[in-house]
C-alpha cells in the first residue's frame, strides 16, 4: 500500500470566474512538495480542498489516508495549516494563542515552542496587533510547528518576508525533514525556496496541473542551448524543444525534455552549440507557463 500523505485524483471545482480542472496530485510521506503557480492559478483553492475547507465538485481527495472533506476532523488532528491570508486574534498575545492551541492538541511540545520563540526572535507576551508582518507570519508558523504535526500545509509561508525571516523559516521547514514520517506541502511563488527544499514540484496554471514530479528529474529535463546559427541555416523543430528565440545569428533554444543528442542534432544542421545551461526554477516556471498557455490557445 502506497504511503501517501496527500492524494488528489480528478479533483475539480467550479467557481463563477475560475475552474479547477481535474487535479491529480500525490505527495508521498516524508517528502516536501512545492506548489508553484502564478497568482490566481488555483494554489489556494487546491489547498483549501485538501484541508476540507472547501468541498470539491468531483474527484477524490485523501489526506493522511482520510477522505476529505468527510473525514476532515480526523485529518486535521495531524495537520498544521497556515496561510498567507489567515490572521490571528489581534487583541490577544502570542502566549494566549500558544495556550489555546495547547489546550486542544496533545502533541504540543513546550520546549520546542520556547526554542522557536528564541529562533524567531518573538516575545510571547506581545499582542498580535503590535507585530510586524514578518513576526505575524512567524507566530502563525510557530503555532503549527510546535505541535509537530505529521503534515504541514502552508500557503505562501515566505511571501512578503525579509531574507532573514525567510531563512529562519526555511531552516525550520528543513528541520522537519529530519523526521521521515513528516511531510510538507507548501505553495509559493518564490521559486528559489521551492527549488531549494522541495523533493517534488507541482506546477499549476489556470486551474490545471502542468507538471508534477520529482524535482531533480524535473530540473534535469530543462536546458537552455545557446546556438550560433550561420546565415542560410534554418533551425529545425526538434522533439523536446519547446521554444527557440533567434536574433540574427544567435539563438536560444529552450528544451523541456533534454537529451545530449539534441545538441548533436543541432550541430548536424550546421549550427554551433556555444553553451548548454541548466535553468533556474524561475526560468523554467516562466517558460513552462508561457508554453502551456500557447498550447491551450492552439
Amino acid at each position: 500500500m502506497t504511503d501517501l500523505a496527500i492524494q488528489l485524483s480528478g479533483v475539480s471545482k467550479k467557481y463563477r470566474y475560475f475552474t479547477l480542472d481535474k487535479i491529480d496530485l500525490e505527495l508521498p510521506r516524508g517528502q516536501i512538495m512545492g506548489l508553484i503557480g502564478a497568482n490566481g492559478a488555483g494554489k489556494s483553492t487546491t489547498i483549501r480542498i485538501l484541508m476540507g475547507l472547501v468541498h470539491q465538485d468531483s474527484g477524490e481527495a485523501r489526506v493522511l489516508g482520510h477522505r476529505m472533506p468527510a473525514e476532515q476532523v480526523a485529518a486535521k488532528w495531524d495537520i498544521g495549516f497556515a496561510s498567507e491570508d489567515m490572521r490571528l486574534y489581534d487583541s490577544m498575545t502570542l502566549a494566549w494563542h500558544m495556550n489555546f492551541i495547547r489546550s486542544i492538541y496533545s502533541g504540543w511540545d513546550a520546549a520546542h515552542a520556547q526554542l522557536l520563540l528564541k529562533r524567531f526572535g518573538l516575545r510571547a507576551d506581545q499582542t498580535i496587533k503590535g507585530l510586524s508582518h514578518g513576526q505575524r507570519v512567524k507566530s502563525a508558523l510557530l503555532l503549527v510547528l510546535a505541535r509537530k504535526p505529521k503534515l504541514l500545509v502552508l500557503d505562501e509561508p515566505t511571501t512578503g518576508l525579509d531574507p532573514v525571516a525567510r531563512h529562519e523559516i526555511l531552516r525550520e521547514l528543513t528541520d522537519v525533514m529530519a523526521d521521515e514520517g513528516r511531510s510538507i506541502l507548501f505553495s509559493s511563488h518564490n521559486t528559489q525556496d521551492v527549488e531549494q527544499i522541495s523533493d517534488r514540484i507541482t506546477f499549476i496554471d489556470r486551474g490545471r496541473i502542468i507538471d508534477s514530479m520529482d524535482k531533480e528529474a524535473y530540473l534535469d529535463r530543462w536546458r537552455r542551448l545557446r546556438l550560433e546559427v550561420p546565415s542560410g541555416i534554418d533551425l529545425p523543430a526538434l522533439p523536446g524543444i519547446i521554444g527557440v528565440q533567434q536574433r540574427g545569428r544567435l539563438a536560444v533554444a529552450t528544451a523541456n525534455a533534454f537529451v545530449p543528442d539534441l545538441a548533436n542534432a543541432y550541430e548536424r544542421t550546421g549550427a554551433r552549440v556555444q553553451h548548454i545551461e541548466h535553468m533556474t526554477l524561475e526560468e523554467i516556471f516562466v517558460a513552462n507557463v508561457e508554453h502551456s498557455r500557447e498550447e491551450v490557445k492552439a
Binding site: 484541508m51 475547507l53 472547501v54 476532523v73 488532528w77 498544521g80 490572521r87 486574534y89 486542544i104 502563525a140
Partner: protein, 223 residues
C-alpha cells in the same frame, strides 16, 4: 473528544468579548437597580432595558460571528479539528451565553419583583414569561441569520425585521383571551393555552437552531 473543542471555542469567544460581557452584566445590574424605584422610573427602566437588550442582540452577532470573517481568523479556527457544524454550535453557544446573561437578569428580576413587591398581580407571571421569550426568539433569529448569511447585510436586515416586529408579537399575544384573562389573578395559573404558547415559543427556537445547523452543514465553500 470534540466536545472539548466546542468548549474551547466558546471560552475563546467569551474571552475575546470580555468587554461585551462586562457591558451586558452592567446592563443587567443597572436594570435591577432602576426597577427598585417605583412608578415611572420603574417603567422607564424596564423599557430602557428592553431597548438595550435589542441593541445588544444586534451587536453581538456582529462581534462574535461576523468578526471571524472580517478579521480573517476563520481559517485559523477551521484548521483546528472541527467541522462547520461543530463550529456553528460553538458560535451559537457562545453568543447565546452572552445574551442570556442580561436576559435572565431581566427575567429573574421581573419575577422577583412580582413575587416580592407585587408590582403586578402574580397571575401575570405566565404572561411575563411568554412575553420575555419574544426577545429570545428574536435574538435566535438574528444570530442564526447572521451565521448562515455571513454578512452585515443579513445582520442588518434580520435586526430590522425582528426588532420592528416585537410589537406585533405582543399585540397578537395580548389578543388571545385565555392569556390576558388571568393577568389580574392574585396567583399564577397555568392554563393549557399558556402552556401551548410557551411550548410553541421553545419549539420555534429549536426549529430555528435545527434549520441553522442544517444549512451550515450544507455549505460547500465554508471559507
Amino acid at each position: 473528544m470534540n466536545r472539548s473543542i466546542i468548549g474551547q471555542l466558546v471560552l475563546k469567544d467569551w474571552r475575546l468579548n470580555r468587554v461585551l460581557i462586562s457591558l451586558t452584566l452592567a446592563i443587567g445590574l443597572v436594570a435591577l437597580l432602576v426597577t427598585q424605584f417605583g412608578g415611572l422610573a420603574r417603567l422607564i427602566g424596564i423599557v430602557w432595558f428592553f431597548v438595550a437588550l435589542c441593541i445588544l442582540g444586534s451587536m453581538l452577532p456582529g462581534s462574535v460571528i461576523l468578526n471571524e470573517r472580517k478579521k480573517q481568523t476563520l481559517a485559523f479556527i477551521m484548521s483546528l479539528p472541527v467541522t462547520s457544524v461543530q463550529y456553528s454550535i460553538a458560535k451559537m453557544l457562545s453568543i447565546w451565553g452572552l445574551f442570556l446573561v442580561p436576559w435572565l437578569t431581566l427575567l429573574i428580576s421581573a419575577l422577583v419583583l412580582i413575587e416580592t413587591r407585587h408590582v403586578v398581580p402574580q397571575g401575570a407571571v405566565p404572561m411575563v414569561l411568554i412575553l420575555a421569550m419574544l426577545p429570545l426568539i428574536g435574538f435566535c433569529l438574528i444570530s442564526s441569520t447572521t451565521l448562515v448569511g455571513e454578512s452585515e447585510g443579513w445582520l442588518v436586515a434580520a435586526s430590522i425585521v425582528v426588532n420592528s416586529s416585537y410589537w406585533l408579537g405582543w399585540f397578537l399575544l395580548a389578543r388571545i383571551p385565555s392569556l390576558s384573562a388571568n393577568w389580574n389573578r392574585p396567583a399564577a395559573v397555568w392554563n393549557s393555552t399558556e402552556i401551548i404558547v410557551l411550548c410553541s415559543e421553545l419549539g420555534a427556537i429549536a426549529f430555528i437552531v435545527a434549520v441553522t445547523l442544517f444549512l451550515q452543514s450544507r455549505k460547500r465553500d465554508f471559507i
